[in-house]
Symmetry: C2
Subunit: 249 residues, 2 copies
DNA sequence: AGCGTAATGTGTTATTTTTACACTCTGCGA
DNA sequence: TCGCAGAGTGTAAAAATAACACATTACGCT
């Protein structure tokens, strides 16, 4: 850190100046309001959804907004993101990961505000939205425009992040109920990655990864032959480290 | 955003309250000092290096520190990172990418400071370190301990990030001189990923990716048969998009 | 000049992984 | 009981990866 002149103390022993008063040092730094914005993905009706509210900012009237809040005093960013999630959805044992910090000077009309984007994946069946303020709802990820602030950009970055992450980590299982059919799983991958996959090869792939537990149960309420229901085996999942598989780009 | 009570204005038209004064809203947010810390990797002597200085904080006397600075007023984080890079190395046309924001409440002894970590990769041959303040030097990435603040954790995260990113993107070329031999390239990959690779397969792989230009020139100053020198073809590189290659974890 | 050394450069085969592809089975609902 | 819609299954071809050995070239030393 480059020190403010006022806090440099000479230190003859070292032949250079050392900063003694770290509090004074930090006092000399400019401060910035920090928010977290949560991109909360869900999967419903074979579509990837994201949880949005109506902006409560007059100048963004009618536009959609991510769920966010400023970081409280002495609050760690992860905690702030979990708090937003809890306050809005009632859940706190969900997948959550920091994606990126956005800092464009004019991204917030009220002045300079940095925001840290978090991605969260949760199962829309596991809970109802308790609080329905600001028209909170699951919005189809396709065809979203006209968002408040730079939230469209944040959403795009998080969606791209999700697509990439899905290929290296079975994140998607967080979006499904505890028991799921292979068809549901494939639908999920197809929807998020926006591709078509061969059904047989998809099954082979997942079975070979060997972390699906056959529950012995079957789907219900489907107007055709029910599929088997599987469960994710968190234990076995750990054993699947990969070697250098070559560079991919 | 959850609004502070004082800035909520009733809006009967909508049946809910809208925030009119966004500046007042932002004023109500707590503010946090923000720094950037640059993890500047280089490659020299077949070893991955990182640019470090001695901490100028008295309580961290003797410990190593990443290159960082607070974000100036109205400065975007990317710009701050480039500035740090420029001030310390004289270069600004280098690879730089944001990695993650660190926000643990006690990560800075002087109070709450968030830091945004950036990774940078540059060729140690391309420039000398102009300013040699604070014992700035290239430090071998292995065997670093006793760093100031949480800089060891930041370094570890950035190193892991680099290893992962290397597999999906030819980042490594930023660490090499403009013209390089395949042996140098392989040494780079072996050093960063900490693995041994088959020389023939490595060549085959890179040639098949088809973005190495044979300069026709040869190594110099090697005590054995000189290897050919190649150059990276930025144009051809764009054409190598990949399809769904399956999930890897 | 010649020889040892050390790293360059190259091709083939076996193995594994990925892709492509079609028919039977089962349960539901009409 | 018949039609429908999706479940369930295997094989063969193609592609990618892994393993592996020997001739070549320049340097440096004697």
């Amino acid at each position: 850190m480059i020190a403010n002149e006022t806090v440099i103390q000479p230190n003859s022993e070292q032949g250079r100046t050392l900063i003694k008063d770290v509090h004074q040092l930090v006092e000399s730094y400019p401060r910035v309001p920090i928010t977290v914005d949560c991109v909360i993905f869900g999967f419903d009706n074979n579509e990837l959804k994201v949880l949005l509210i109506r902006s409560d900012i007059e100048m963004y009237k009618g536009k959609w907004s991510l769920l966010g809040d400023f970081a409280h005093d002495d609050e760690e960013l992860d905690d702030a993101a979990y708090r937003v999630l809890r306050e809005r959805t009632g859940m706190d044992d969900v997948y959550l990961e920091q994606v990126r910090t956005f800092s464009k000077p004019n991204r917030h009309p009220g002045g300079r505000v940095f925001t840290v984007a978090y991605c969260s994946l949760l199962n829309t069946e596991h809970h109802d939205l308790k609080i329905l303020d600001n028209e909170i709802h699951w919005h189809s990820v396709k065809n979203i425009c006209d968002m408040a602030f730079d939230h469209k950009e944040i959403l795009d970055v998080c969606y791209a992040w999700l697509q990439k992450r899905m290929l290296e980590h079975p994140l998607g299982l967080n979006l499904l109920p505890e028991k799921f059919s292979l068809r549901e799983l494939q639908n999920l991958y197809e929807a998020i990655l926006d591709i078509k996959l061969d059904r047989r090869n998809f099954r082979k792939k997942f079975f070979s990864m060997d972390f699906l537990i056959d529950t012995g149960e079957y789907e219900d309420d489907v107007p055709h032959r029910p599929g088997r229901l599987y469960r994710f085996d968190y234990n076995k999942y750990q054993h699947n480290k990969r070697r250098w598989t070559g560079i991919e780009f």
